[in-house]
Amino acid sequence: MDQTIVEKIFSRRCNKDVVAGEVVMAPVDGAMMHDITGPLAIEKFYEMGGTRVFDPKKVIMLFDHQIPADSLNAAENQKTMRKFGNEQNILNYDIKEGVCHQVTLEKGRVCPGDIVIGGDSHTCTYGAVGAFATGVGSTDLGFALRYGCLYFRVPDSIRANVTGKFADRVGAKDLILNIIKDITVDGATYKAVEFTGETVSSMPMAGRMTCCNMAIEMGGKVGIVPPDQITAAYLKDRASFQGTDLASDDGATYSSWREYDAGDLVPQVAVPHNVDQVVDVDQVAGTPVDQVFIGSCTNGRFEDMQEAAEVLGNRSFSDKVRVLVIPASRPEYLKTLRAGIIEQFVEAGALVEAPCCGPCMGGSFGLIASGEVSFSTSNRNFKGRQGSTEGKVYLGSAATAAATAITGVITDPREVR
């Protein structure tokens, strides 16, 4: 029977043919826990009678949301997790490596065909390497830590097929925002979103991660890109894996099939307060902003920093704007640093912080006040997401963020030359 890539992954891992809609108990190849959802997962693990985690090598532990500890509660939570990590022989990246999803991928902890869960909704990012990966809550995470498996409903898939070449200063973020606009915030609920087509197969890993990361913003269970040579090149020095022979069959069944033309795209902006409220940049151009954030698991990679730096050139950022730049991980930070881009940002007036989630979740520093406007390269513009519920968050690419930070008002990056 012809299967989607997701049905194939579940079939292989469960040793039987499964179809979308079926509920299976499947083994997990990785379980990611961070400082927010981790402490509760540990509590649940013990409540379920756990003593040893199923396999310490398959547990990914790190702190990224509130680091360095920004409150006593945060410090206590991290202490709890450190202790658990030590006792269970789990490799704990602690506060040193950066944002969970970027770190998990760059450390080679997820391979094509794996089933991975994480105590974070953006765990769907790992579909970028052709894995099935999904976010769960702390109780599910605790269950998986104990038993090494979890219940899943094998999801239906939506095929998002993309052709055409991006115009200059238009890229993966604009594409995914446009797809979310089309599919809507709950259009992919319970479903996998499979990204294919020549635009995706020629897209570097950074862009694939951006697209898969935002699958959850359509309600998706995972965003997934069939693994190929680009995946293999990315994983080569990071992991040993079985190869990339994994793709949907030609006759696989999709709940819907959508076609997108990347060549048609102009820079996209998600306006407050839902991620599917997406417009062409010219419709909001001129909107004054108070803060610009370039970072997060969506767009905090070297490629994003480079894109922003290219728009910036030797200009300065607007005096009216607070510009926060936070590379997503230590290696991405180092690459940015060595390329001279950190210096360029600091010269231009940005605050560059060490790798972490930063203001993305509004849980730590960099909050916006009532009436303030943030332009952010992250993935959510919910009311109150970055601070005051009276504030507003706009989302866009690193290029659009840089252009906006230069002028102080939302600006089309193609107009800054």
Binding site: P27, S121, G137, D140, M361, R380, K383, R385, T389
Partner: protein
């Protein structure tokens, strides 16, 4: 019993803002439920109150703190036109009952609701609205009283520990 009515796409950041996620107990979380979003919920919500909402309730972050903030507030049932996936699963796991009702939009805060969940309907100020059945595997977890209790009873042949 009071009904607290909400619209579409109520995200978990609205239910419990990110800055309170260092709190892990339901009562502590309840003090900040809907803070800045629907002030007056925390402190006034009482045991047995119900939340009624539109589409996609609970979208966004996977924080289990969201259903816990609701159970800590005394809410035992949320009725909505649809729920986001992770929130649905989390709620089942922590024993918060979620009811999918296509007519949720017609319910107002003035209504009195009586649940006949096992029978597949709710009674809203005299009117009868059908609700969607719960998938069988989730019903087993609900019947056990949440995933923790379910896990304690699970048989090894139901697992795949390899």
């Amino acid at each position: 019993m009071r009904v607290w009515k909400f619209g579409d796409n109520i995200d978990t950041d609205a239910i419990i803002p990110g800055r309170f996620l260092t709190i892990n107990d339901p009562k502590g979380l309840a003090e900040h439920a809907f803070e800045g979003f629907r002030d007056g919920f925390a402190g006034n919500a009482q045991e047995g109150d119900m939340i009624v909402a539109g589409r996609n309730f609970g979208c966004g972050s996977s924080r289990e703190h969201a259903p816990l903030a609701l159970t800590g507030s005394g809410v035992r049932v949320v009725i909505a036109e649809s729920f986001a996936r992770i929130f649905y699963r989390n709620s089942v796991n922590v024993g918060l009952l979620l009811v999918i009702c296509p007519h949720a939009g017609e319910i107002t805060e003035q209504d009195q609701i009586t649940g006949h969940f096992a029978e597949g309907y709710i009674e809203v100020s005299g009117k009868r609205f059908d609700i969607e059945p719960v998938p069988a595997f989730l019903q087993r977890i609900i019947d056990a009283g949440g995933l923790v209790s379910y896990a304690k009873k699970i048989r090894s042949e139901d697992l795949c520990m390899k």
